[in-house]
Symmetry: C2
């Protein structure tokens, strides 16, 4: 996933997987009695001073209790802390589930000595089961003792569910003459396992910026990263991305349209893009990471529709898995997405190999070359429609036997 970069000189090579502290932030994770086997499942992130915050949330009409709470609170004022748990989504739990989450925020706020509205909450795990509130409440004092500047990595570990690897990145750069630090912590194995479905992402920074600017950059960055990936098209009830900025860097405020805003998004957007790509790579059962590029569409919106049609098509995805340059499936998917296309103008490329020209397969050698591309763990499929100048990119993965095994948990 390459996000639209504001500055070509900045790229993901500046992102580190070793997490250093972010000024003003402490974090940590413990076993709070949710998961089996004493594994860490309860995390806390604390900001001193309280951070300005922005959030983006699942568009699913069925929203988990923590989403309902956090999406309201994030609009109302500063954020002192984020309480996050894995092992239980607190979704489809009705009013009792809502009360559970509100109560846990309240208790955390009491222990921190702040207003309860300054505590946000996020959950990921199984749908439809109540949280073990008693055990969690009893664990909170221990969790507060655990938070520390060096606890970011532990937090990333704590929010994992089906993730095969933790997803966290750290970077630092100059913004308005001051050094600004940014850390991103995420979980999500392609947002596809609804028993434990969810993408959570927390971006922590000492940037000084108005809340309106934070909202805008998180929205724009998500559009170019988390909203451009798909594993199977299913949408979680719990997706949550938060951007917390506590202003410790004392930079000139990064208002929208300023050089500071641009400088910070040059740190943030590549990080969001890379975290999104890590989720696709970790997509359940995935063996291949495939970027779908559509260009020459009548509009960006239509290009987007067409790219997602390919990215979701089970037949296209099984052809990637089978290393089969089956361009007929791509043509059929393009024709059925909705937007008008002119079949006899369509070109299709696997990486740089042109397999289809003007809607007709070129066969022979190009098919042989495409087969080689399909053997790679990552490649790009480019569709040129030649009917306009709209374009879009989506990152997807293949559909495999392991995907079915993981999600069917077939009783053998």
């Amino acid at each position: 996933m390459t996000t639209k970069k504001k500055s070509p000189s900045r790229d993901r090579s500046d992102l580190q997987t070793d997490l250093h502290p972010v000024p003003g932030f402490t974090a940590g994770g413990i076993h709070g009695g949710i998961k089996q086997g004493g594994r860490r499942d309860l995390a806390l992130i604390v900001s001193d001073p309280p951070a300005r915050a922005a959030g983006v949330f699942t568009k699913n009409h069925v929203k988990a209790a923590p989403v309902l709470i956090s999406q309201t609170r994030v609009r109302s004022g500063p954020c002192k802390a984020v309480l996050a748990n894995s092992g239980n989504a607190n979704a489809c739990t009705g009013d009792p589930g809502l009360k559970d989450a509100i109560g846990l925020c309240k208790r955390t706020a009491q222990l921190l000595g702040v207003d309860e509205h300054e505590v946000l909450v996020a959950s990921t795990g199984g749908i439809g089961k109540r949280l073990p509130v008693g055990r969690i409440r009893a664990s909170l004092p221990r969790l507060l003792e655990r938070v520390r500047p060096g606890g970011l990595q532990e937090t990333a570990e704590t929010i994992r569910t089906t993730d095969r690897f933790p997803k966290a990145l750290w970077t630092r750069g100059k913004v308005g003459g001051e050094t600004v630090t940014l850390c991103g912590i995420a979980k999500g194995a392609g947002m596809i396992r609804p028993d434990m479905a969810t993408m959570l992402a927390f971006f922590l920074t000492d940037l000084k910026a108005p809340t309106t600017a934070l909202r805008r950059m998180l929205q724009e960055g998500s559009e170019q990263s988390f909203n451009r990936i798909t594993v199977d098209g299913d949408m979680s009830t719990n997706d949550t991305a938060l951007l917390l900025a506590n202003g410790r860097a004392k930079n000139r405020s990064a208002g929208f349209g300023t050089g500071e805003y641009e400088a910070f998004t040059n740190l943030l957007f590549p990080m969001m893009g890379e975290l999104a790509a890590m989720m696709v790579r970790d997509g359940e059962g995935a063996t291949k990471e495939v970027e779908i590029r559509v260009r020459g569409a009548r509009s960006d919106e239509e290009a987007n529709l067409l790219a997602f049609q390919l990215a979701h098509s089970p037949l296209v995805k099984t052809s990637f898995y089978g290393r089969d340059p089956n361009w007929g499936r791509l043509m059929a998917a393009l024709g059925s997405a909705g937007p008008w296309v002119h079949p006899q103008r369509i070109d299709i490329f696997y990486d740089r190999v042109c397999l289809v020209r003007n809607g007709v397969g070129r066969g022979g050698k190009s098919e042989e070359q495409a087969r080689k591309v399909l053997r790679k763990a990552g490649f790009t499929v480019t569709i040129d429609l030649h009917v306009g100048s709209g374009s879009a990119r989506v990152l997807t993965c293949d559909l495999t036997h392991d995907y079915v095994s993981l999600n069917a948990s077939y009783p053998s």
Copy 2:
């Protein structure tokens, strides 16, 4: 699949799988040099006198050559014959492919002594390869000798591709005081294997009816049958359904709104529904046939969207395969389909077992009972949204390891 029945007294039990002749129709199939191994791949259906005809075709913008030809010709006049082949879709073959198909129709018309516009054509098989026109042309005289009143079963066999079993039904009933015969021949294993993707369906009858009525009944019947099934949501370049009526029964003409129209649709609609259900049962790798019913939606259109969202969701379909009453996946899919839903009003049933009431799982015994339902080869999932009176039904199947194997043709 139960279609909307005009008369409750008629049902699919009147449908026979033994095919008897239909007055005025002859048919047959031979090996025309398309498939490997000398298998039958070229079929011809002839009507005497020429039939009034109606057709419905794929909505895919990428249409195969035979679709482009037949959808024009079916509107222009009577139909003497249908030339159909399996083993090659003649799709994405550009202008040369179009000329191939036109040439074959012309040659067939010459041999039959009719105008070339009276010959329709349909193809199914691999995309992107030219037809072996020379071999097919050379076979046509032999094919014409082969057609006979008792050749309908052979025709059903000839148009098979990945179908595990042939799909053909026969029935007879009174229409306007006369006995009318109807035979339906179809192929399609869930319309999902784009190498050989396609649903073809030919309905042959001696009914007398105006063309406008035939169009209307084919359209309405398709809406309730072929358009209500899904295996993986992919759409073929070649889907074709034709209704040919040669008027031999000499019934009072079955114009729209007449008792004759209604009497005939009581024969036709159950047949279309049953053929559609046979395709889902034959869905590649499918082990279960699941009817999704959505009711209490704000409109039929929204109910339809929600039903298809469930029917296409890989997570919902793998849960059927895994016999897992994972209602959280259904809730998440319902919330992400687009239409507004009120999570706390949703009820979910597996057959008659109520698993979710007011958006919350009932757990315990009902989960145990739902597990029993999931062990069946066919069952119904009913969603009651309680926000309106819209309803819809869709027939789908599960997503299995075999689906991936069949479509990945993974090089082991």
